[in-house]
């Protein structure tokens, strides 16, 4: 599998892991290692003195490049302020930009998202926007200078997979930056489908962190992403309405 290139940086794995939802740091460590991911996302929250263990050390041990997100922000203003704090806290100008428009579906707000993306790009950030599956909005985000576009398959944590493969196809066809399927993945075949559709990578959290056995699901996702990537490049057979024999039609014996 060739390397994933984002903003001039190269990554071996095409699976990006979100760190939310794990039952324990040990479960996270086992899953992150099994996933083979070399990029992981984190959130920023008020310091909790009672919290034990350091997620950053854990991700360092796993060799993950850490990208903060702006989860929980509902306006461009909040998202921009949060991104600036994240840059200070983690000494990185990379940010997974989330601007949520509805707290029931967690779908992004297209206007606020584009506004925040423009501000952050202007401010020197490497912006990875979590967007809906609208090909026009994806193009606007790309035009605004985002380093990748990260369309959802379906709502965050829903496990509904890729609700509209048709839009994903349109986004992939038009994109000149990496397309990362973000949100909605429920199981391995969803991740394989995303890669077969031409995505450059898959970002997921709940599908692994909330599975009954996160480490085993992380292994499944790693293999599924590799499988989908290989299948895309192998050139699949066309779909046919009728059958096509796989055994020779000549030389059949006359036995009766």
């Amino acid at each position: 599998m060739s390397a994933l290139e984002i903003a001039g940086r190269s990554f071996e794995s095409r699976l990006i892991i979100g760190t939310g939802g794990f039952r324990s740091l040990d479960a996270m460590r086992a899953a992150v290692q099994a996933s083979g991911a070399d990029v992981a996302t984190v959130a920023l929250r008020r310091v909790d003195p009672t919290a034990r263990g350091s997620i950053l050390e854990l991700l360092d041990d796993c060799g993950c490049f850490v990208v903060p997100n702006t989860a929980g922000c509902f306006t461009a203003r909040d998202a921009v302020a949060t991104a600036r704090l994240a840059r200070e806290a983690l000494e990185t100008d990379w940010v997974k930009l989330e601007v949520i428009g509805d707290d029931k579906t967690l779908l992004p707000d297209p206007g606020e998202l584009l506004d925040a993306a423009e501000q952050l790009v202007g401010d020197g950030f490497t912006v990875l926007p979590y967007t809906n599956d609208d090909p026009v909005l994806a193009r606007r985000l790309e035009d605004a200078g985002c380093a990748a576009v990260m369309p959802l398959g379906s709502p965050i944590g829903s496990g509904m997979g890729i609700a509209n493969p048709y839009n994903l196809r349109l986004i992939v066809e038009a994109a000149r930056v990496p397309v990362i399927l973000d949100a909605g993945i429920g199981t391995a075949s969803d991740a394989a489908l995303a890669m077969e559709a031409g995505c450059d990578a898959v970002l997921l959290a709940s599908a692994v962190s909330r599975a009954e056995d996160p480490a085993v699901m992380a292994t499944a996702m790693r293999k599924a992403v590799e499988a989908g990537y290989a299948a895309r490049r192998a050139g699949r057979i066309p779909r046919r309405l009728y059958g096509e024999p796989s055994s020779p039609v000549e030389g059949v014996a006359e036995l009766t």
Partner: protein, 69 residues
């Protein structure tokens, strides 16, 4: 004594307290790794925590990296 809104709660700090005192007050790790602070929504770079005094009536947020999707 001066009073600031520290991570959403009213908090008493001695006169002359700085952002660093606020960071310590919430129990953030000493070296501040993965931690950032804002006063009234503006980032205060780590290098200025010690020199930036608080005057009271400010909103101070001290954040750290946590698990997130």
């Amino acid at each position: 004594m001066l009073t600031v809104m520290l991570n959403g709660d009213a908090h008493q700090l001695p006169d002359g307290a700085t952002v660093l005192d606020a960071v310590r007050a919430v129990g953030a790790s000493a070296d501040g790794r993965g931690v950032a602070a804002a006063v009234d929504g503006e980032v205060v770079p780590r290098g200025q925590w010690e020199s930036r005094p608080l005057s009271g009536d400010e909103r101070v947020e001290v954040l750290q990296a946590v698990q997130g999707g």
